[in-house]
């Protein structure tokens, strides 16, 4: 049964990014800060830390493609970026102890890496204009804080779920 819970939870996080969070963004209240929720990606990073590399890579490809199809014009940017960052996280986590602090740092690093990759690729194809300073101050910092808070809040519940799936798969 818990085989289906992990994809379902990740999918739910993906849907929440585009619905619930979008009803309370800072733009609603006249602020110019941009907060991008990367909740499903945070889950993928946590999977990359604790599950076999193959699993997180597959999740990254699927949810990256889903983001591309649903929210962007160009297919491939998110798919490529999420998969690449998820792979780098699996490699990195092999050389570190897996604990709460490392997981939070890795997820923040992953979100930053993803944002930079997407920004770079979008600038390359001409979708994003604007200086790197504006990108960092208006977008990156707030996004990092939002996703770190999300990681801190949901680390223990999500770990419980991961442990359950690990036990069931042997």
């Amino acid at each position: 049964m818990s085989k289906f819970i992990l994809p379902l939870v990740t999918y739910l996080a993906f849907i929440i990014e585009g619905t619930v969070i979008q009803t309370v963004t800072p733009e609603h209240y006249g602020y110019s800060y941009i907060l991008i929720p990367h909740f499903s990606f945070v889950f993928i990073v946590l999977m990359a830390c604790y599950l076999p590399p193959r699993v997180s890579l597959i999740y990254a490809l699927i949810f990256g493609l889903l983001t591309d199809l649903m929210y962007t014009d160009l297919i491939g940017i998110y798919m490529f970026s999420t998969a690449l960052v998820a792979y780098l996280i699996t490699v990195l986590s092999r050389y570190m102890f897996s604990n709460f602090l490392i997981a939070v740092v890795l997820s923040a690093g992953g979100v930053a890496g993803l944002e930079f990759l997407v920004y770079g690729l979008n600038t390359l194809v001409g979708v994003a204009h604007g200086s790197i300073q504006a990108f960092m101050y208006d977008r990156l910092i707030g996004t990092l804080i939002l996703n770190m808070v999300f990681t801190i809040l949901l680390y223990y519940p999500f770990m419980k779920l991961l442990r359950k799936t690990m036990n069931e798969n042997g």
Partner: protein
Amino acid sequence: MPQFFSNKRLIVLLVSIIVLVAMIGFSMKDREELTWPEQFLNDVVGTSQSLLYKPAHSVAGFFENIADMKDMYSENETLKSKLAQYATVSQDVQKLKNENDSLKNKLEKPADLTDYKVRDARIIGRSPDRWNQSVSINLGSRDGITTEMAVVSPEGLIGRIDKVSMFHSTVKLMNDNGKNNNISAIVEGKERIFGTIEGYDQKKQALVFSKLPSKTALAKGQKVITSGLGEGFPRGVLIGTVDQVVEDESDDTQIAYVKPAAGFYNLDHVMVLDRRMQPVDVNQFKAVEEVAK
């Protein structure tokens, strides 16, 4: 220093970069229709979005209502004074409408650029990635939605239909950075000035209305509406008001920055405008205008 990429991995990375470029190339060209797997995924995700967006929006709206309550008294006063004018204005409108209809009948012009059908739609989701500004709505090809239709909120134009699947479609908002986000528009005034809105300036938070002839006098506060020439937009939909006029140094033209009339956030109900007629031949239309003058 850990070795991130072995030779085999490096080849995989290079191949995936090639695949990335191929996919971007595939999706960059103008596609009229989505492929069926894309449509299917859009519908599946759209259905789950519509389950979540509405309750979340009402909860957020509830708290906003509480915050708005302190302004209610003064708002009520102004509304009361507006209401007094309403009766006379609506009578005038009715009179003008009748007059307009009878004149149109005399001209034997059954359909014109302003004709459209309205379809009510509800927002079910929004792109969280701010590089692309788009929202999804709960109408699709089954409800007769096609690409390039205009989408308006009660305040004014907000965007156009971009992708259509069976039950849901995606609206590209006017503040999107994309290249093909041009709108043919008119500045209303003593003389009408035709032009094209070419994109959105994120810093100024205004639409860029460029290539206006430099001798025309533009003033702040002039209304900008859609022209209805070409594309799928009807005529006369409010886009915004002129906010700032700048001389373009490179060639002898002006750029007007247009403040959009509608907000792009806080959307709930929107309307899709379906033009009843085929796109008009521009020259023929201009000839009709000449005659009308």
